[in-house]
Symmetry: C2
Subunit: 486 residues, 2 copies
């Protein structure tokens, strides 16, 4: 029987091997008294464990030494005053430890960190000390030797591809993490984009299977939607949010998997769950086939503040329905018609109920006029409009200062995908160069969770210090560059 | 050849076995949100390692939890604002850790602490957490089962004896520590008093031998004096102070050892070092046989502020000379006459040069008139005066508000010893009850490094928070109560 235990055992079977690399920083040793500090630069972003040695210089250290050790994904995080943190995600994500060391010793810090820089401040010592033997053991389940360089001739795209694969690599641990600094959790929205990029880069199929099974073992909410995230450590635990667009994108992730592997056994294991996600969604459509608003955190779409999400969510439903229908067709499933027959009906409903003729754009739901890039993009990806009409709408919404704009590389992935769907490859290339290249211009070693070109301090959590600077959903340029031979 | 390696190998041969006891506090579990705190009381002072478990309550902890864990030898240390610490010993001795824990887990804290109370403050958590499975694994090389109760009928003396043996027990680890909170080091002054009390309580001869050999391996300074302390961990290291009275008391410690064990093999190993300590002291006597002041930290005697120490030091020399002469006589050493013949000469010199006829008291050195208990006591212990003259001087100096008074149980040990030498047993009993009983009245579970009845905040280090509240040199009431059948 395909129950939770079955899915967890399949997840365990596909536990990926971690590969370790020892990194050393630009500084090999540091002699310090109270108040001194040193910043170590490992040259690149990495995820793993830090160790160092402490010894006395002339006099034996006759009292414990207190060190403050700060880990920064970038230099801003090294210099931030974290006592001023006001974000709404836990301040414990800010990577800083206070260590008291009794004797000269080698210290292997037990927690895992995500960083390029480490700042060690000697808070207190009686006599000068020497810090040395700095070592960072980086881990990833990505196999770097499996990665071929991209074929692109464009220098910026080449650079973007490298940063994107570094981002994915550092998020690939024993599962696809959303961000190795925060939340270190398996989210469907990230999984889908990580898996997609992985097919074109590290080609680690185990980790994809593991993640698909980990969700299959999760507890659905009363609407029938899968958990949007699960915990792996210290024991498996289903998450407590069941966002509708993520539940749908789980189905898309299964379709992607089959498309890239033709592995029918996994699809057979997960098919019923996929169907139930679509059935659950169908159950909350109103008589016009338009999704009805539900309580709680119902849709994600993007971290754009004040965004109304129902139209975009309706687009995610159509996008999923189309992909799932293709899968059912490919595997000859008896329910192909049941799902595929909904597609033209729902598309018509969207055009009828969600399109505002006077503004020539999709508005948000039945009772809201909000104009957003998100609504247009998902209606395009959902196949509600196409051709020049769609191209013009896409370009105009991105240019419109009054339209809600994407703030995450996650949503921008779907913008890029919409461009490519519409044959706008040049626009897509330019979009990647602007939006991911913009992060590189600001010094990114890995791509960020959120990025607003005009607002370097933007944070979905009301404090930039809580942002993840190596975020899985931002790794997809490598997918585009490699798949579309940019 | 009896070189450093020989002595270290003998020290290693006598490495004591540690005995472990698992203690649980009055609180078995604690459910907490950010800002909550709990104080665990283990019912008695102990030295060892703390462990606890952390779990979520209803919701899985979705971010690391930050705990502040404070260890207190008493409740004042639990409630102190350590950010206001101004002492001149390192603030890193204040026992507090900040822990970030990623997941529900059992945490075994790696450092050793000395405490009765532990306060856990939940600095930050997103969701309520549960803390439980609190456990403190106490260690000591004392064998509690070897300890017979004291015969005293006096309830307060009985209580003092218990607190004193607890103090000694917690200082007995892999060597005789001065204090298990601070400095966790082997000092001669503490060793002598710990060993003395140990002969009448736990009777662990291994640890005494180990400590005597650890000093024998030390590096003497240019005057020829042994180091006053040594480090054992993480590797053996000779200390960087060579206090003259401590160098002499090393010799007394060897005499004590022979007196209580008749173990000639250890004495033979250490005899040459003992002789060289006395020879080195003789070399710094002036033409009148009075010690000359030397540079640096030359004498300890007591932590009494502003104390002039030369006369007391001269008394320590005589005291040592007498004990060592007795040892040489007992073992039939050829140099007996060489040392014993000095005794009457130096005693006469003291009476002539250090006694002030007009004030009927010993003053400090040749150029200083300071009147202190310390000078009188050490001249008595040195045999410079005796009988009623000595009794009257002893009582009058303890009563004299203008006299410098002892501030440590260490110096008060020698006051008590002087009383007993003069046959003043009743005074000694009352002195123990007042000065050690006073600490018990203030709640002491173990005896303190320093205690001034009128000044509960007195500290040799300018901040009470740096004081050790379980200090080896304060354990000697058990020696007196048991040896003198009080």
């Amino acid at each position: 029987m395909k129950d939770k235990n079955y899915f967890l055992s399949k997840a365990q079977e596909n536990y990926p091997k971690l590969n370790f690399t020892v990194l050393t920083p630009d500084v090999s040793e540091f002699t310090a008294s109270s108040g001194d500090s040193v910043i170590l630069d490992f040259g690149k972003h990495a995820v793993g464990h830090f160790s160092f040695s402490l010894d006395n210089v002339d006099r034996f250290m006759d009292a414990p030494v207190r060190l403050i050790i700060r880990f920064g994904e970038d230099m801003r995080e090294i210099n931030d005053d974290i006592s001023q943190y006001i974000g709404n995600v836990s301040k414990t994500w800010l990577q800083e430890e206070i260590l008291n060391l009794d004797y000269p010793q080698k210290t292997e810090m037990p927690r895992r960190y995500a960083c390029r820089y480490i700042k060690i401040t000697v808070d207190s010592t009686n006599f000068p000390i020497r810090l040395f033997d700095f070592s960072f053991t980086a881990s990833t389940s990505a196999d770097i030797s499996a990665l071929e360089p991209s074929d692109t001739k464009d220098a910026l795209l080449k650079k973007i591809d490298c940063v994107a694969t570094d981002t994915l690599k550092d998020c690939m641990q024993t599962f696809f993490e959303d961000g190795p600094k925060r939340d270190r959790r398996l989210w469907i929205g990230d999984l889908r984009l990580e898996a997609l990029t992985n097919y074109y880069t590290f080609k680690n199929l185990e980790i994809v299977k593991r993640c698909l099974y980990l969700f299959a073992a999760g507890e659905c909410n009363k609407l029938g939607f899968l958990p949007s995230y699960v915990y792996e450590t210290p024991y498996y635990k289903s998450g407590e949010a069941n966002i509708a667009d993520y539940a749908l994108l789980y189905v898309v992730s299964v379709c992607d998997y089959y498309e890239h592997t033709a592995d029918i056994s996994v699809v057979n294991d997960l098919l019923q769950i996929c169907k139930s996600q679509l059935d659950s969604f169908e159950a909350i459509l109103d008589e016009n086939l338009i999704v009805t608003r539900q309580d709680g955190w119902f849709a994600f779409i993007d971290w754009c503040p004040g965004l109304e999400k129902l139209t975009a969510l309706q687009g995610v439903y159509l996008y999923t329905l189309e992909r799932f229908s293709e899968l059912l067709k490919a595997i000859g499933d008896k329910d192909f018609n049941k799902y595929s027959s909904l597609l033209p009906l729902v598309r018509s409903a969207c055009k009828k109920h969600l399109y505002n003729e006077s503004s020539n754009a999709f508005i948000n739901g039945l009772d809201n006029k909000q104009f957003s890039v998100h609504s247009q993009i998902w209606m395009i990806l959902g196949g509600v409009i196409s051709g020049d009409e769609a191209k013009n709408l896409l370009l105009s919404c991105l240019d419109n200062k009054d339209a809600k704009q994407p703030v995450t590389p996650y949503m921008r992935h779907y913008v890029t995908e919409a461009m490519l769907k519409l044959g706008m490859k040049e626009n897509a290339v330019q979009y990647l160069k602007n939006l991911w290249g913009g992060m590189i211009e600001l010094g990114a070693d890995t791509f960020w969770e959120a990025y607003v070109p005009d607002d370097p301090d933007f944070s979905p959590y009301y404090d930039r210090k809580g942002n993840s600077l190596c975020h899985a959903w931002s790794c997809t340029p490598s997918y585009f560059i490699r798949k579309y031979k940019m």
